[in-house]
Amino acid sequence: MSTDVSEAPVLQRTPLHALHLARGGRLVPFAGHDMPVQYASGVLKEHLHTRAGAGLFDVSHMGQIALRPKSGKVGDAALALERLVPQDIVAVAPGRQRYALFTNAAGGLLDDLMVANFGDHLFLVVNGACKAADEAHLREHLSDVCTIEVLADRALVALQGPKAASVLAKACPEAPAMRFMDAGPHQVRIAGGAIACFVSRSGYTGEDGFEISIPAAQAEALVSGLLDDPDVMPVGLGARDSLRLEAGLCLYGHDIDATTTPVEAALEWSVQKSRRSGGARAGGFPGANVILPQFEQGASRRRVGLRPEGRAPVREGAPLFADASSSDPIGTVTSGGFGPSLNAPIAMGYLPPLHAAIGGTVFADVRGQRLPLRVSEMPFVPHNYKR
Protein backbone atom coordinates (compact mmCIF):
# COMPACT_ATOMS: atom_id res chain seq x y z
CA MET A 1 0.00 0.00 0.00
CA SER A 2 1.24 3.48 -0.77
CA THR A 3 0.86 5.96 2.03
CA ASP A 4 1.46 9.67 1.87
CA VAL A 5 3.90 11.04 4.37
CA SER A 6 4.24 14.79 4.15
CA GLU A 7 5.81 17.43 6.33
CA ALA A 8 3.19 18.70 8.72
CA PRO A 9 2.89 22.46 8.24
CA VAL A 10 1.59 24.68 11.01
CA LEU A 11 -2.15 24.42 10.50
CA GLN A 12 -4.83 26.86 11.54
CA ARG A 13 -7.83 25.58 13.43
CA THR A 14 -11.42 26.62 12.88
CA PRO A 15 -13.68 27.43 15.85
CA LEU A 16 -15.17 23.94 15.38
CA HIS A 17 -11.86 22.04 15.63
CA ALA A 18 -12.61 20.49 19.04
CA LEU A 19 -16.08 19.50 17.90
CA HIS A 20 -14.64 17.67 14.87
CA LEU A 21 -12.28 15.70 17.09
CA ALA A 22 -15.04 14.90 19.58
CA ARG A 23 -17.28 13.63 16.78
CA GLY A 24 -14.64 11.37 15.27
CA GLY A 25 -13.55 13.58 12.39
CA ARG A 26 -10.45 12.51 10.49
CA LEU A 27 -8.52 15.75 10.16
CA VAL A 28 -6.23 16.55 7.23
CA PRO A 29 -4.47 19.70 6.03
CA PHE A 30 -6.66 21.72 3.66
CA ALA A 31 -6.12 25.33 2.58
CA GLY A 32 -3.77 25.82 5.55
CA HIS A 33 -6.33 24.52 8.04
CA ASP A 34 -6.74 21.28 9.96
CA MET A 35 -10.05 20.16 8.47
CA PRO A 36 -12.23 17.03 8.65
CA VAL A 37 -12.03 15.02 5.43
CA GLN A 38 -14.63 12.60 6.83
CA TYR A 39 -16.15 11.29 10.04
CA ALA A 40 -16.62 7.70 11.20
CA SER A 41 -19.49 7.02 8.80
CA GLY A 42 -17.26 7.68 5.79
CA VAL A 43 -17.47 9.65 2.55
CA LEU A 44 -20.10 7.46 0.84
CA LYS A 45 -22.62 7.56 3.70
CA GLU A 46 -21.99 11.27 4.32
CA HIS A 47 -22.52 12.02 0.63
CA LEU A 48 -25.74 9.99 0.35
CA HIS A 49 -27.09 11.38 3.62
CA THR A 50 -26.64 14.93 2.30
CA ARG A 51 -28.71 14.03 -0.76
CA ALA A 52 -31.44 12.43 1.40
CA GLY A 53 -31.44 14.35 4.69
CA ALA A 54 -29.18 17.13 5.85
CA GLY A 55 -25.39 17.30 6.01
CA LEU A 56 -23.47 19.83 8.08
CA PHE A 57 -20.10 21.02 6.78
CA ASP A 58 -17.49 23.24 8.42
CA VAL A 59 -16.29 25.65 5.74
CA SER A 60 -14.72 28.13 8.15
CA HIS A 61 -11.45 27.94 6.21
CA MET A 62 -13.07 30.20 3.63
CA GLY A 63 -12.59 33.94 3.90
CA GLN A 64 -15.40 36.26 4.99
CA ILE A 65 -14.94 39.91 4.05
CA ALA A 66 -17.11 42.99 4.62
CA LEU A 67 -16.81 45.64 1.91
CA ARG A 68 -18.10 48.89 3.39
CA PRO A 69 -18.65 52.00 1.21
CA LYS A 70 -17.03 55.12 2.68
CA SER A 71 -19.96 57.13 1.31
CA GLY A 72 -22.47 55.00 3.17
CA LYS A 73 -24.12 54.06 -0.14
CA VAL A 74 -23.90 50.34 -0.89
CA GLY A 75 -24.20 51.12 -4.61
CA ASP A 76 -20.79 52.77 -4.46
CA ALA A 77 -19.26 49.57 -3.06
CA ALA A 78 -21.03 47.59 -5.78
CA LEU A 79 -19.71 49.85 -8.55
CA ALA A 80 -16.23 49.66 -7.05
CA LEU A 81 -16.30 45.85 -6.90
CA GLU A 82 -17.31 45.80 -10.58
CA ARG A 83 -13.77 47.05 -11.30
CA LEU A 84 -12.56 43.57 -10.30
CA VAL A 85 -15.34 41.19 -11.43
CA PRO A 86 -17.29 40.75 -14.69
CA GLN A 87 -20.56 40.32 -12.80
CA ASP A 88 -23.35 42.88 -12.38
CA ILE A 89 -22.99 43.72 -8.69
CA VAL A 90 -25.08 46.90 -8.86
CA ALA A 91 -28.12 44.76 -9.67
CA VAL A 92 -27.72 42.57 -6.58
CA ALA A 93 -30.65 43.76 -4.47
CA PRO A 94 -30.46 44.07 -0.70
CA GLY A 95 -30.91 40.61 0.80
CA ARG A 96 -29.63 38.85 -2.33
CA GLN A 97 -26.37 37.10 -3.24
CA ARG A 98 -24.56 36.41 -6.52
CA TYR A 99 -21.72 34.16 -7.70
CA ALA A 100 -18.77 36.22 -8.96
CA LEU A 101 -15.24 35.87 -10.32
CA PHE A 102 -12.07 37.87 -9.69
CA THR A 103 -10.35 38.10 -13.09
CA ASN A 104 -6.77 38.93 -14.00
CA ALA A 105 -5.36 40.97 -16.90
CA ALA A 106 -5.01 37.84 -19.05
CA GLY A 107 -8.68 36.99 -18.60
CA GLY A 108 -7.92 34.20 -16.14
CA LEU A 109 -9.54 33.70 -12.75
CA LEU A 110 -7.93 34.74 -9.46
CA ASP A 111 -10.79 33.24 -7.44
CA ASP A 112 -14.50 32.56 -7.44
CA LEU A 113 -16.59 34.06 -4.67
CA MET A 114 -20.05 34.90 -3.37
CA VAL A 115 -21.16 38.53 -3.05
CA ALA A 116 -24.15 39.41 -0.89
CA ASN A 117 -25.82 42.80 -0.47
CA PHE A 118 -26.45 43.34 3.24
CA GLY A 119 -28.13 46.74 2.69
CA ASP A 120 -25.34 49.01 3.94
CA HIS A 121 -22.36 46.91 2.83
CA LEU A 122 -21.35 43.94 0.70
CA PHE A 123 -20.48 40.60 2.30
CA LEU A 124 -18.01 38.42 0.40
CA VAL A 125 -17.14 34.75 0.86
CA VAL A 126 -13.89 33.73 -0.87
CA ASN A 127 -11.84 30.54 -1.09
CA GLY A 128 -9.59 29.71 1.85
CA ALA A 129 -6.48 29.20 -0.24
CA CYS A 130 -7.01 32.57 -1.95
CA LYS A 131 -8.21 34.73 0.92
CA ALA A 132 -4.95 36.52 1.69
CA ALA A 133 -4.38 37.35 -1.99
CA ASP A 134 -8.02 38.38 -2.41
CA GLU A 135 -7.79 40.72 0.57
CA ALA A 136 -4.65 42.34 -0.86
CA HIS A 137 -6.33 42.62 -4.27
CA LEU A 138 -9.36 44.35 -2.75
CA ARG A 139 -7.19 46.71 -0.68
CA GLU A 140 -5.07 47.64 -3.68
CA HIS A 141 -7.96 48.44 -5.98
CA LEU A 142 -10.93 49.47 -3.80
CA SER A 143 -9.47 51.30 -0.78
CA ASP A 144 -10.38 54.68 -2.32
CA VAL A 145 -14.08 53.83 -2.08
CA CYS A 146 -14.39 51.10 0.53
CA THR A 147 -13.05 49.90 3.83
CA ILE A 148 -12.13 46.23 3.60
CA GLU A 149 -12.77 44.32 6.80
CA VAL A 150 -11.73 40.69 7.09
CA LEU A 151 -14.15 38.96 9.45
CA ALA A 152 -11.62 36.60 10.98
CA ASP A 153 -13.61 35.90 14.14
CA ARG A 154 -16.47 34.10 12.45
CA ALA A 155 -17.10 30.46 11.59
CA LEU A 156 -18.92 29.41 8.43
CA VAL A 157 -20.97 26.24 8.13
CA ALA A 158 -23.10 24.82 5.36
CA LEU A 159 -26.30 22.90 6.13
CA GLN A 160 -27.16 21.11 2.89
CA GLY A 161 -29.82 18.69 1.74
CA PRO A 162 -33.59 18.30 1.29
CA LYS A 163 -34.18 18.44 5.06
CA ALA A 164 -31.96 21.49 5.66
CA ALA A 165 -34.90 23.91 5.64
CA SER A 166 -37.03 21.93 8.11
CA VAL A 167 -34.01 21.53 10.41
CA LEU A 168 -33.02 25.20 10.35
CA ALA A 169 -36.66 26.32 10.73
CA LYS A 170 -36.57 25.11 14.35
CA ALA A 171 -33.81 27.62 15.17
CA CYS A 172 -34.54 30.28 12.55
CA PRO A 173 -38.29 30.44 11.70
CA GLU A 174 -37.78 32.72 8.69
CA ALA A 175 -35.33 30.32 6.99
CA PRO A 176 -37.94 28.28 5.02
CA ALA A 177 -39.31 31.45 3.39
CA MET A 178 -35.90 32.32 1.93
CA ARG A 179 -35.31 31.62 -1.77
CA PHE A 180 -32.14 30.35 -3.42
CA MET A 181 -29.49 33.09 -3.13
CA ASP A 182 -31.34 35.14 -0.51
CA ALA A 183 -28.81 36.30 2.10
CA GLY A 184 -28.70 38.51 5.15
CA PRO A 185 -28.42 38.82 8.92
CA HIS A 186 -30.71 36.48 10.86
CA GLN A 187 -31.08 35.50 14.49
CA VAL A 188 -30.53 31.77 15.00
CA ARG A 189 -31.84 30.55 18.34
CA ILE A 190 -30.26 27.86 20.46
CA ALA A 191 -30.88 26.80 24.06
CA GLY A 192 -28.69 29.60 25.39
CA GLY A 193 -30.38 32.40 23.41
CA ALA A 194 -30.27 34.01 20.00
CA ILE A 195 -27.10 34.28 17.92
CA ALA A 196 -26.55 37.01 15.34
CA CYS A 197 -25.73 35.08 12.16
CA PHE A 198 -25.54 35.76 8.45
CA VAL A 199 -27.65 33.21 6.60
CA SER A 200 -27.82 32.60 2.87
CA ARG A 201 -29.90 30.00 1.05
CA SER A 202 -27.05 28.62 -0.98
CA GLY A 203 -24.25 26.10 -0.90
CA TYR A 204 -21.97 24.09 -3.10
CA THR A 205 -23.54 20.64 -3.22
CA GLY A 206 -26.35 21.08 -5.74
CA GLU A 207 -28.85 20.54 -2.94
CA ASP A 208 -31.14 23.02 -1.26
CA GLY A 209 -29.46 24.38 1.83
CA PHE A 210 -27.99 27.25 3.77
CA GLU A 211 -24.63 28.74 4.59
CA ILE A 212 -24.50 30.19 8.08
CA SER A 213 -21.83 32.61 9.28
CA ILE A 214 -21.56 32.48 13.07
CA PRO A 215 -19.53 34.50 15.61
CA ALA A 216 -16.62 32.22 16.52
CA ALA A 217 -17.42 32.16 20.24
CA GLN A 218 -20.90 30.75 19.60
CA ALA A 219 -20.13 28.46 16.67
CA GLU A 220 -19.69 25.27 18.65
CA ALA A 221 -22.94 25.74 20.58
CA LEU A 222 -24.95 26.43 17.44
CA VAL A 223 -23.44 23.58 15.44
CA SER A 224 -23.85 21.14 18.35
CA GLY A 225 -27.52 22.13 18.47
CA LEU A 226 -27.95 21.49 14.75
CA LEU A 227 -26.14 18.15 14.99
CA ASP A 228 -28.49 17.06 17.79
CA ASP A 229 -31.25 16.92 15.17
CA PRO A 230 -31.60 13.29 14.02
CA ASP A 231 -31.84 14.44 10.38
CA VAL A 232 -28.38 16.05 10.51
CA MET A 233 -25.06 14.29 10.01
CA PRO A 234 -21.63 15.92 10.16
CA VAL A 235 -20.03 15.75 6.71
CA GLY A 236 -16.38 16.20 5.80
CA LEU A 237 -14.60 17.77 2.87
CA GLY A 238 -14.37 14.42 1.07
CA ALA A 239 -18.11 14.28 0.50
CA ARG A 240 -18.22 18.01 -0.12
CA ASP A 241 -15.92 17.40 -3.08
CA SER A 242 -17.91 14.46 -4.48
CA LEU A 243 -21.18 16.41 -4.05
CA ARG A 244 -19.88 19.49 -5.86
CA LEU A 245 -18.46 17.34 -8.65
CA GLU A 246 -21.84 15.63 -9.16
CA ALA A 247 -23.38 19.12 -9.19
CA GLY A 248 -20.95 20.14 -11.97
CA LEU A 249 -19.51 22.96 -9.87
CA CYS A 250 -15.93 24.19 -10.27
CA LEU A 251 -13.27 23.76 -7.62
CA TYR A 252 -10.88 26.71 -7.67
CA GLY A 253 -7.28 25.66 -8.26
CA HIS A 254 -8.44 22.55 -10.11
CA ASP A 255 -11.24 23.23 -12.63
CA ILE A 256 -10.60 26.97 -12.79
CA ASP A 257 -7.44 28.95 -12.12
CA ALA A 258 -5.39 31.94 -13.27
CA THR A 259 -5.11 30.43 -16.77
CA THR A 260 -8.81 29.66 -17.42
CA THR A 261 -11.23 32.30 -18.69
CA PRO A 262 -14.94 32.40 -17.80
CA VAL A 263 -15.86 31.29 -21.33
CA GLU A 264 -13.35 28.42 -21.33
CA ALA A 265 -14.74 27.37 -17.93
CA ALA A 266 -18.33 27.39 -19.26
CA LEU A 267 -19.22 30.09 -16.73
CA GLU A 268 -20.81 32.50 -19.24
CA TRP A 269 -24.06 32.26 -17.26
CA SER A 270 -22.33 34.10 -14.41
CA VAL A 271 -21.58 37.18 -16.55
CA GLN A 272 -24.71 39.32 -16.89
CA LYS A 273 -25.57 41.19 -20.11
CA SER A 274 -24.91 44.58 -18.51
CA ARG A 275 -21.19 43.74 -18.31
CA ARG A 276 -20.87 42.16 -21.77
CA SER A 277 -20.14 44.03 -25.02
CA GLY A 278 -23.00 46.43 -25.68
CA GLY A 279 -24.18 46.34 -22.06
CA ALA A 280 -24.74 49.41 -19.88
CA ARG A 281 -21.48 48.85 -17.97
CA ALA A 282 -19.60 46.67 -20.45
CA GLY A 283 -16.05 45.73 -19.56
CA GLY A 284 -14.11 47.70 -16.99
CA PHE A 285 -12.81 44.58 -15.24
CA PRO A 286 -9.34 43.01 -15.58
CA GLY A 287 -8.98 40.97 -18.78
CA ALA A 288 -12.16 42.34 -20.38
CA ASN A 289 -10.30 42.68 -23.68
CA VAL A 290 -9.65 38.92 -23.60
CA ILE A 291 -12.91 37.72 -22.04
CA LEU A 292 -15.55 39.75 -23.90
CA PRO A 293 -14.53 38.74 -27.46
CA GLN A 294 -14.75 35.10 -26.38
CA PHE A 295 -18.49 35.50 -25.85
CA GLU A 296 -18.83 36.00 -29.61
CA GLN A 297 -15.89 33.99 -30.92
CA GLY A 298 -15.69 31.19 -28.39
CA ALA A 299 -12.48 29.95 -26.79
CA SER A 300 -9.90 27.38 -27.78
CA ARG A 301 -10.99 24.98 -25.05
CA ARG A 302 -14.07 24.31 -22.98
CA ARG A 303 -14.84 22.72 -19.62
CA VAL A 304 -17.06 19.67 -20.11
CA GLY A 305 -18.54 16.85 -18.09
CA LEU A 306 -17.07 13.39 -18.66
CA ARG A 307 -18.60 9.98 -17.91
CA PRO A 308 -16.07 7.15 -17.96
CA GLU A 309 -17.66 4.18 -19.69
CA GLY A 310 -16.07 1.63 -17.35
CA ARG A 311 -15.95 1.41 -13.56
CA ALA A 312 -12.47 2.88 -13.07
CA PRO A 313 -12.42 6.47 -11.81
CA VAL A 314 -10.49 8.86 -14.05
CA ARG A 315 -8.83 11.41 -11.83
CA GLU A 316 -7.40 14.92 -11.97
CA GLY A 317 -4.39 15.24 -14.25
CA ALA A 318 -5.27 12.38 -16.60
CA PRO A 319 -4.45 13.43 -20.17
CA LEU A 320 -7.29 13.20 -22.71
CA PHE A 321 -6.92 11.93 -26.28
CA ALA A 322 -9.13 12.04 -29.36
CA ASP A 323 -8.84 8.29 -29.87
CA ALA A 324 -7.41 5.14 -28.34
CA SER A 325 -4.06 5.32 -30.11
CA SER A 326 -3.05 8.96 -30.72
CA SER A 327 -0.01 10.18 -28.85
CA ASP A 328 -0.82 13.89 -28.60
CA PRO A 329 -3.17 14.84 -25.75
CA ILE A 330 -6.03 17.22 -26.61
CA GLY A 331 -7.01 18.04 -23.05
CA THR A 332 -6.82 17.21 -19.36
CA VAL A 333 -9.11 16.00 -16.60
CA THR A 334 -9.33 18.70 -13.91
CA SER A 335 -11.57 16.87 -11.41
CA GLY A 336 -12.49 13.25 -11.34
CA GLY A 337 -13.63 10.57 -9.00
CA PHE A 338 -16.61 8.50 -8.06
CA GLY A 339 -20.16 9.85 -7.92
CA PRO A 340 -21.87 8.05 -5.03
CA SER A 341 -25.36 9.19 -6.08
CA LEU A 342 -24.76 7.76 -9.56
CA ASN A 343 -22.75 4.76 -8.37
CA ALA A 344 -20.41 5.51 -11.24
CA PRO A 345 -17.23 7.43 -11.99
CA ILE A 346 -17.56 11.05 -13.16
CA ALA A 347 -15.09 13.73 -14.18
CA MET A 348 -14.74 17.14 -15.73
CA GLY A 349 -12.01 18.52 -17.88
CA TYR A 350 -11.06 20.74 -20.78
CA LEU A 351 -11.35 19.83 -24.45
CA PRO A 352 -11.06 21.73 -27.75
CA PRO A 353 -14.50 22.81 -29.06
CA LEU A 354 -14.28 20.21 -31.83
CA HIS A 355 -14.28 17.45 -29.20
CA ALA A 356 -16.51 19.14 -26.62
CA ALA A 357 -19.86 18.21 -28.17
CA ILE A 358 -22.19 16.33 -25.81
CA GLY A 359 -22.28 12.63 -26.65
CA GLY A 360 -18.81 12.45 -28.15
CA THR A 361 -16.17 10.01 -26.96
CA VAL A 362 -12.64 10.81 -25.83
CA PHE A 363 -10.02 8.65 -24.16
CA ALA A 364 -8.07 9.14 -20.95
CA ASP A 365 -4.73 7.59 -20.12
CA VAL A 366 -5.07 5.82 -16.77
CA ARG A 367 -2.07 3.77 -15.63
CA GLY A 368 -1.04 3.14 -19.23
CA GLN A 369 -4.49 2.11 -20.44
CA ARG A 370 -6.74 4.17 -22.73
CA LEU A 371 -10.18 4.36 -21.15
CA PRO A 372 -13.19 5.76 -23.07
CA LEU A 373 -15.22 8.62 -21.62
CA ARG A 374 -18.43 10.12 -22.96
CA VAL A 375 -18.69 13.92 -23.08
CA SER A 376 -21.68 14.62 -20.87
CA GLU A 377 -24.00 17.40 -19.83
CA MET A 378 -23.60 18.83 -16.35
CA PRO A 379 -24.80 18.75 -13.65
CA PHE A 380 -24.46 14.98 -13.41
CA VAL A 381 -27.09 15.02 -10.65
CA PRO A 382 -29.94 17.57 -11.06
CA HIS A 383 -29.78 20.64 -8.84
CA ASN A 384 -32.37 20.84 -6.10
CA TYR A 385 -32.34 24.59 -5.40
CA LYS A 386 -35.43 26.33 -3.99
CA ARG A 387 -35.80 29.11 -6.52
Binding site: M1, V43, G238, S242
Partner: protein
Protein backbone atom coordinates in the same frame (compact mmCIF):
# COMPACT_ATOMS: atom_id res chain seq x y z
CA UNK B 1 -0.75 -22.02 7.08
CA UNK B 2 1.14 -18.85 8.03
CA UNK B 3 -0.04 -15.24 7.75
CA UNK B 4 2.65 -12.59 7.28
CA UNK B 5 2.45 -8.80 6.94
CA UNK B 6 4.33 -5.98 5.19
CA UNK B 7 5.05 -2.48 6.45
CA UNK B 8 2.88 -1.33 3.51
CA UNK B 9 -0.18 -2.96 5.12
CA UNK B 10 -0.53 -6.05 2.96
CA UNK B 11 -1.12 -9.54 4.32
CA UNK B 12 0.11 -12.80 2.78
CA UNK B 13 -1.43 -16.16 3.58
CA UNK B 14 1.27 -18.76 2.82
CA UNK B 15 0.09 -22.24 1.82
CA UNK B 16 2.91 -24.34 0.37
CA UNK B 17 4.25 -22.51 -2.71
CA UNK B 18 1.23 -20.18 -2.94
CA UNK B 19 0.74 -16.77 -1.31
CA UNK B 20 -2.74 -15.23 -1.15
CA UNK B 21 -2.41 -11.46 -0.83
CA UNK B 22 -4.74 -8.74 0.39
CA UNK B 23 -4.69 -5.44 2.24
CA UNK B 24 -5.14 -5.30 5.99
CA UNK B 25 -8.21 -4.16 7.86
CA UNK B 26 -6.11 -1.26 9.15
CA UNK B 27 -5.36 -0.23 5.56
CA UNK B 28 -9.00 -0.33 4.45
CA UNK B 29 -10.02 1.77 7.44
CA UNK B 30 -7.45 4.38 6.44
CA UNK B 31 -8.57 4.38 2.79
CA UNK B 32 -12.29 4.67 3.45
CA UNK B 33 -15.04 3.46 1.13
CA UNK B 34 -13.53 1.42 -1.72
CA UNK B 35 -15.32 1.94 -5.04
CA UNK B 36 -12.97 0.26 -7.54
CA UNK B 37 -10.24 -2.39 -7.51
CA UNK B 38 -7.84 -3.02 -10.41
CA UNK B 39 -6.16 -6.42 -10.30
CA UNK B 40 -3.15 -7.85 -12.15
CA UNK B 41 -3.60 -10.23 -15.08
CA UNK B 42 -3.30 -13.95 -14.41
CA UNK B 43 0.09 -15.16 -15.61
CA UNK B 44 1.84 -11.84 -14.94
CA UNK B 45 5.30 -12.16 -13.43
CA UNK B 46 5.44 -9.72 -10.53
CA UNK B 47 8.70 -8.54 -9.05
CA UNK B 48 8.86 -7.69 -5.36
CA UNK B 49 7.88 -4.02 -4.72
CA UNK B 50 6.34 -3.33 -8.14
CA UNK B 51 2.77 -2.06 -8.35
CA UNK B 52 0.50 -5.11 -8.57
CA UNK B 53 -2.98 -3.70 -7.99
CA UNK B 54 -4.81 -0.46 -7.32
CA UNK B 55 -7.59 0.13 -4.78
CA UNK B 56 -9.61 3.31 -5.20
CA UNK B 57 -11.72 5.11 -2.64
CA UNK B 58 -14.12 7.92 -3.47
CA UNK B 59 -11.23 10.32 -2.88
CA UNK B 60 -8.06 8.68 -4.16
CA UNK B 61 -6.26 5.78 -5.77
CA UNK B 62 -3.73 3.76 -3.78
CA UNK B 63 -1.20 1.34 -5.19
CA UNK B 64 -0.81 -2.15 -3.80
CA UNK B 65 2.75 -3.43 -4.21
CA UNK B 66 3.82 -7.01 -4.76
CA UNK B 67 5.21 -8.01 -1.36
CA UNK B 68 7.25 -10.80 -2.95
CA UNK B 69 8.30 -11.98 -6.42
CA UNK B 70 6.06 -14.48 -8.17
CA UNK B 71 3.60 -15.39 -10.92
CA UNK B 72 -0.06 -14.36 -10.61
CA UNK B 73 -2.06 -17.60 -10.38
CA UNK B 74 -5.52 -16.23 -9.66
CA UNK B 75 -7.30 -12.93 -8.99
CA UNK B 76 -10.45 -12.21 -6.98
CA UNK B 77 -13.03 -11.36 -9.65
CA UNK B 78 -15.70 -10.84 -6.98
CA UNK B 79 -14.12 -7.45 -6.27
CA UNK B 80 -15.07 -6.12 -9.72
CA UNK B 81 -18.76 -6.36 -8.86
CA UNK B 82 -18.37 -5.64 -5.16
CA UNK B 83 -15.31 -3.52 -4.37
CA UNK B 84 -16.82 -2.68 -0.95
CA UNK B 85 -15.89 -6.22 0.15
CA UNK B 86 -12.48 -4.69 0.84
CA UNK B 87 -14.11 -2.59 3.57
CA UNK B 88 -16.27 -5.33 5.02
CA UNK B 89 -13.86 -8.29 4.89
CA UNK B 90 -10.34 -7.13 4.06
CA UNK B 91 -8.69 -10.10 5.79
CA UNK B 92 -10.94 -12.73 4.20
CA UNK B 93 -13.29 -12.58 1.21
CA UNK B 94 -11.54 -9.51 -0.19
CA UNK B 95 -8.23 -11.19 -0.99
CA UNK B 96 -6.78 -9.56 -4.13
CA UNK B 97 -4.57 -12.11 -5.91
CA UNK B 98 -2.60 -15.32 -5.47
CA UNK B 99 1.08 -15.69 -6.37
CA UNK B 100 3.30 -18.71 -6.96
CA UNK B 101 6.16 -17.84 -4.63
CA UNK B 102 9.41 -17.55 -6.62
CA UNK B 103 11.83 -17.21 -3.73
CA UNK B 104 10.86 -18.25 -0.23
CA UNK B 105 13.80 -16.36 1.23
CA UNK B 106 11.86 -13.13 0.51
CA UNK B 107 9.41 -14.13 3.24
CA UNK B 108 12.16 -13.58 5.79
CA UNK B 109 11.79 -9.82 5.80
CA UNK B 110 8.06 -9.84 6.56
CA UNK B 111 6.28 -9.44 9.90
CA UNK B 112 4.18 -11.84 11.91
CA UNK B 113 0.85 -10.72 13.35
CA UNK B 114 2.29 -9.51 16.66
CA UNK B 115 4.97 -7.45 14.89
CA UNK B 116 2.38 -5.95 12.52
CA UNK B 117 0.11 -5.04 15.42
CA UNK B 118 3.01 -3.28 17.07
CA UNK B 119 3.79 -1.55 13.76
CA UNK B 120 0.28 -0.10 13.51
CA UNK B 121 -0.21 0.62 17.20
Amino acid sequence: MTVLYTTDHEWLRIEGDTATIGITDHAQSQLGDIVFVELPKVGRQLKKAETAAVVESVKAASDVYAPITGEVLEVNDALSAEPALVNSDADGKAWLFKLRIADKSELGGLMNEAAYKAHTA
